[in-house]
Amino acid sequence: MASVTIAGVRKSYGSVEVLHGVDVSIDEGEFVVLVGPSGCGKSTLLRMLAGLEHITSGEIRIGNRVVNDLAPKERDIAMVFQNYALYPHLTVAENMGFSLKLAGVRRAQIEEKVRPAAEILGLAHLLDRYPRMLSGGQRQRVAMGRAIVRKPQVFLFDEPLSNLDAKLRVTMRSEIKNLHQRLKTTTVYVTHDQIEAMTMADKIVVMHDGIVEQIGTPLELYDRPDNLFVAGFIGSPAMNMIPGTLADDGSFRGRDGTVLPVAHPGSARPGQPLVYGVRPELMSTGGEIPLVVEVTEPTGAETHVVGRLGGTEITGVFRARIDVAPGGTIPIGIDPAGVHLFDEDSGKRVSG
């Protein structure tokens, strides 16, 4: 186990810079998720941490060692790839013991280490199979087994669940989380799926276009997003964004004049172009704000309503069952404590 420090890391391919100075510090035993849309540089950052990509500038430390110029094998890390990268010509047991075999460990000892790892992952009965004979979930487990057999300082996961179907993804999500709680190894996990990030992470690093947008625990990001990007990326359905300005009485006016409540305007000034952010689940039925219904989507436990508010299409999630025909209006309330205000130009959060 070791901490990881990423300080001022940049990456360029030729004249194109894809990472513009990234700082992340990861504590010992922490489960950190790098999340962002594709092309944001999260995988590149992970591969730089693994030693598969050269670091253009900046510094990466694992424990107390600067690893910038160390080969992957000297960094004491293990990586799980999106396509699993199992050696097709080796059995499950040989795949898991490959690194030990390369290190010159005797066969009996390899066996001793592979078996318990296989048992943790429920692979004990598959040890003699070849990867080709395994299902996607089993292959994924073998890839994880190959990583844990080595007892590395840091686990790296590169979108490990992307190739699995939705149901298996949920199962493997909790399996990986369990494994981490059991082994307590520092883990860096890359995904584009914010639900994976929210459910698994101790700490989430939201990345976008080669920079870090915000770092925090899942609930910090959910409750206090620093900017419009994080606000829109974290949470499902996404946060509603209604453009408008602050009125002199401290309430918010949408472009069409709709009045929306604000509790903590923070540094927002009247007249400044703002974006009013409110999560769908912070809306309730029975208020004074008229919502013009376009579509209702009953899911049983709750009802999703797509409608127009303040001149913008928004989504509301209501615990109550709503039976309104499209075009009808329902009165809704918004909890002003959960409202965020963002500067429209810079995208930065201005509310307190």
Binding site: K73, P88, F98, L102, R132, M133
Partner: protein
């Protein structure tokens, strides 16, 4: 005759089978139709492959000469060859030629493939250039080599003399061992592109992440090559090298243009000797027997690659 639409939709009792002609019945049965469609191909194969092969084998058992029908002589041709030192020399030459050239083609071809598989500037240009020796007609390249190996005007001799390494031109094709190595070199030059491009195609099917995983697992570049790349390449290597060995073993054009089997039969391969005896020598029976004698060697090469290299347990999927 009923049209196809009607035939497929109309019930059988409207048109009892015995009333229809054999051809319409044949054309409506799945197997029959398959047989019909295969006939042209089968005819071509029988006429142009099976018949000549059978004729060749038959000729080997006769004393046919050009211009004279032969009679069946049993194994006499083979008994004669068994005591013929020139025949055994050609067997030796063929083995030497095949083994040395194939090993060299494999080694150099794999090396080239590995280089071309990396990210090089002008990669596609180099890949195209590599194919040139394969594209040029053999006779043309053999003539170029004939000039390169010329006893007086060889550019190799000239260069070495200019560098002061030798005093007089090397007699490339006039000395027995020089001639053997020279034809092998020409064959290697010509055969490398096939091996290199085929292995390159094989290398490109190996995911980059496997190499990365191995690097993280602690493999040195050499270990990555021997423990990951090479095992994953074996199925392709088996196919490519089987073909390469077959091409080399049956080579004719290169030898015939460069040396015609000389000097003193030192470069006669079984194929060239067979032609030499059968056509210029007129002994069709004996030539055919030499050609037939190549078959066991070729079969052995195919069986070796088929059972020894081609299918691995890890390749056989279950799903």
């Amino acid at each position: 005759m009923t049209g196809p639409d009607q035939a497929s939709s109309a019930p059988a009792q409207d048109d009892p089978p015995r009333r229809r002609g054999w051809f319409s019945r044949l054309s409506e049965s799945r197997n029959g139709l398959g047989f019909l469609f295969m006939l042209p191909a089968a005819a071509v194969l029988l006429f142009f492959l099976t018949y000549p092969l059978g004729l060749g084998v038959w000729l080997g058992f006769t004393d046919t000469r050009i211009g004279r029908e032969g009679v069946f002589v049993g194994l006499e041709n083979y008994a004669w060859l068994f005591d013929d030192p020139v025949f055994w020399l050609s067997v030796f030459n063929t083995m030497l030629y095949t083994v040395v050239a194939s090993v060299a083609k494999f080694g150099l071809g794999l090396w080239l493939a590995l280089i071309l598989n990396r990210h090089l500037p002008f990669k596609n240009f180099f890949r195209a250039v590599i194919l040139l020796p394969w594209v040029v007609p053999t006779v043309l390249s053999a003539m170029a080599f004939w000039w390169i190996f010329d006893s007086q005007f060889s550019i190799i001799s000239w260069s070495l003399m200019q560098m002061g390494l030798i005093d007089q031109p090397i007699n490339f094709l006039g000395d027995t061992w020089n001639a053997r190595w020279s034809v092998i070199a020409a064959n290697v030059w010509r055969g490398i592109p096939f091996v290199a491009i085929s292995l390159l195609a094989g290398l490109q099917t190996i995911p980059q992440s496997l190499n990365e995983a191995a690097a993280i697992d602690g493999a040195t570049p050499w270990q990555r090559f021997t423990k990951v790349t090479l095992p994953l390449l074996t199925p392709i290597i088996a196919v490519v090298m089987t073909f390469s060995v077959l091409f080399t073993f049956t080579d004719f054009q290169l030898i015939y243009v460069l040396t015609r089997g000389g000097p003193v039969n030192a470069t006669h391969l079984m194929a060239t000797l067979s032609f030499q005896r059968a056509i210029p020598g007129g002994q069709l029976g004996e030539g055919a027997a030499i050609a037939v004698a190549m078959i066991p060697f070729l079969l052995a090469a195919i069986l070796f690659s088929f059972f020894g290299l081609q299918r691995r347990r890890w390749q056989q999927g279950q799903d």
